[in-house]
Amino acid sequence: MSAPTDTVARAAGPGRATGSRGGHLTRKRRLFWPFMIPALGLYLAFLVLPTLATVVLSFTKWAGSGDTPEPNGVDNYVQMWNNDSFQYSFQNTLIYVFAGGIGTFLLAFLFTMVLRDMRGGKAIRAILFFPNIVAPVALGMFLGFVFKYQPGKQGLANFMLEHVGASAAKFLDPANVTWVVTASIIWASSGFFITILMAAVDRIPPYLYEDADLAGASPWQKFRNITLPLTWDVIGVAGVLWTINALKIFELVFVLAGPGTYSPPNQAWTLGIYVFDRTFGSNGTPDFGAACACAVAMIALVSFLVVLLRRLMRRDVIQF
């Protein structure tokens, strides 16, 4: 609150029961800690402290319960880096973040061009959004049926392929599954990003598009000269959200690529699966130290990508 309004408020309310506004403000400020402590306490106890603990534990050798953590420097990180499974996980996660992100945003951009002045656009947005409220586990299982390969009992995708005379494809083979998952993620999450971007597009004054019509601008020129620059900030936020979400992908891949109860083949892993597998994995004994190292790698990657994205997207604030 700025000083002038403060003065005005004081001048406007003399003879108030509580005395001066200053007194009231102090009384209000006394509420701050009682109101903050429950949320802040839980936040510190369940998010901040465990994260710090994870960072510390990542520098120890620790198999898991029953074992005691012993410091071993950066050994975990070195071993992790040289580990096949980690390399697959790292590679796949980057594919999901970048290929999935580019795909999702290109699709979302294309949709903003069409949906802006389309009748029934609101209903279409609601339908596109729908996969976002489905549990990733359920989505993974469902997509498992869609991409199922078993002659005679083909899933939906192969059923259609065979119907048009093409031969069925082994979508969920470790060699293909990364790209199938990428496509699935684009399908499932584009609705969310389309909705965010469209909400921003709806805030652009329509007369700018009308002026572009008078100029004879093509849809691409309108997108390039109006939509893109005026939704830039929202695109930046959406990009951050995408990065965060894509980095923690776990259930969808776990269920879609594997048999369900235990880990899928490691060519299909994500960093999330790597952590899970090293913690509770059926493939070999647990290795909490390695899991913590990978978790730290995840958080480092998120931070790096988010900071990078914000840096790349930075520009002057535009008012309209």
Partner: protein, 361 residues
């Protein structure tokens, strides 16, 4: 340069049975400044947007010059439009804004920049070319919007209430600037406003619309002197014309002690013996109390050059308020009795039922 003509142009909106613009027939001469005026919802903006190509035309045609542009996309119509909110692109500098249409039209950069510079000079914007619109004042933004229209060198300018976002003083100033700029460039201009003062001061011709129907299109003087119906009579002129009910007999009609005979032509326009007599505030003479319409001065508005008296009267019905213009600094006081009679030749007669003017010839 070009003429503009609307031929039976009609526009409907989805779900509304009454057309927004109903069978508009209107001719605009080459180089003319035509103002479309009317209360909100009268169809004036729709008319302009149809001409711009931002709205479809359901029936009828629109011609610019000898071309039928009814189904042409906006960019092929050779027009430029100034929007009410100026529609400046917030992320582009003033120069980029002015040159945007030329850039879309793929004009070579050198020529584009020259045209932008010329327009900026004409509008006194040269020093602001690198600024963003957010850093400009309202009047400057308005000029940028004008500049963007001018660089296109169109054959028709369209302006949709371009002054409504300016404060009162700037509006009067800009009004004259736009009018003189238009005269200088000689480009046919269609200008939409809801403000009748703007319409009367700027237009070569003024078209009054109401409920999608064209009421009258005439010069400002013509509109003022001979309004064709009660709506135009009440809408044009400020303060509005006094409208008093009266009855016609064989000798004509009596208003405030003055007897006005009706011509044959006027009688032929009658649908009954009920008429409405219109007298502008400046059309009154004050007379002896016995002979005129009597009233009591309720409010005195002193403008310096003029004075407006709002008088309460029982003439023709209870609570009739009569507006009278008298010279400025006149000694009228609140509560004084006044007696009025119309000046010779200052009376407008309308048929009460149809609202149409009783034409004298």
């Amino acid at each position: 340069m070009a003429t503009v003509s609307f031929r039976d142009t009609t526009r409907y909106y989805a779900g509304v049975d009454r057309p927004a613009v109903d069978g508009l027939d209107l001719e605009v001469a080459d180089g003319e400044f035509l103002v479309l005026v009317g209360p909100s919802g009268c169809g004036k903006s729709t008319t302009l947007r149809m001409l711009a190509g931002l709205e479809g035309v359901d029936y009828g045609q629109i011609h610019i010059g000898d071309r039928d542009v009814t189904d042409l996309p906006p960019k092929d119509r050779d027009i430029a439009m100034v929007f009410q909110n100026y529609a400046l692109y917030p992320h582009m500098s003033v120069g980029e804004n002015i040159g945007f249409h030329l850039k879309i039209a793929k004009m070579p950069k050198a020529e584009r920049e020259k045209r932008v510079r010329d327009a900026a000079e004409l509008l006194d914007l040269t020093q602001y070319l690198d600024r963003k619109p957010a850093k400009l004042s309202g009047g400057q933004r308005q000029r940028v919007a004008m500049g963007r229209a001018i660089v296109r060198e169109p054959s028709v300018f369209l302006m949709d209430e371009p002054l409504s976002n300016l404060d009162a003083k700037l509006r009067v100033q800009t009004r004259t600037q736009i009018a003189s700029l238009q005269r200088r460039l000689g480009i046919t201009t269609i200008y939409v406003t809801h403000d009748q003062v703007e319409a009367m001061t700027m237009g070569d011709k003024v078209a009054v619309l109401k409920d999608g129907l064209l009421q009258q299109c005439d010069t400002p003087i013509g509109l003022f002197a001979r309004p064709v119906n009660l709506f135009v009579a009440g809408f044009i002129g400020s303060p509005a014309m006094n409208l008093l009910p009266a009855t016609v007999d064989v000798d004509g009609v009596v208003v405030g002690g003055t007897r006005l005979p009706l011509t044959t032509a006027q009688r032929s326009g009658l649908t009954s013996d009920k008429v409405v007599v219109g007298v502008r505030p400046e059309g009154w003479d004050t007379v002896d109390p016995e002979s005129g319409i009597t009233g009591v001065v309720e409010v005195v508005e002193e403008l310096g050059s003029d004075q407006y008296l709002y008088c309460k009267s029982t003439y023709g019905g209870p609570d009739q308020v009569l507006t009278v213009r008298t010279p400025g600094m006149a000694p009228w006081q609140r509560g004084e009795k006044i007696s009025l009679t119309p000046k010779a030749g200052a009376v407008h007669l309308f048929d009460e039922a149809s609202g149409a003017r009783l034409m004298d010839s």
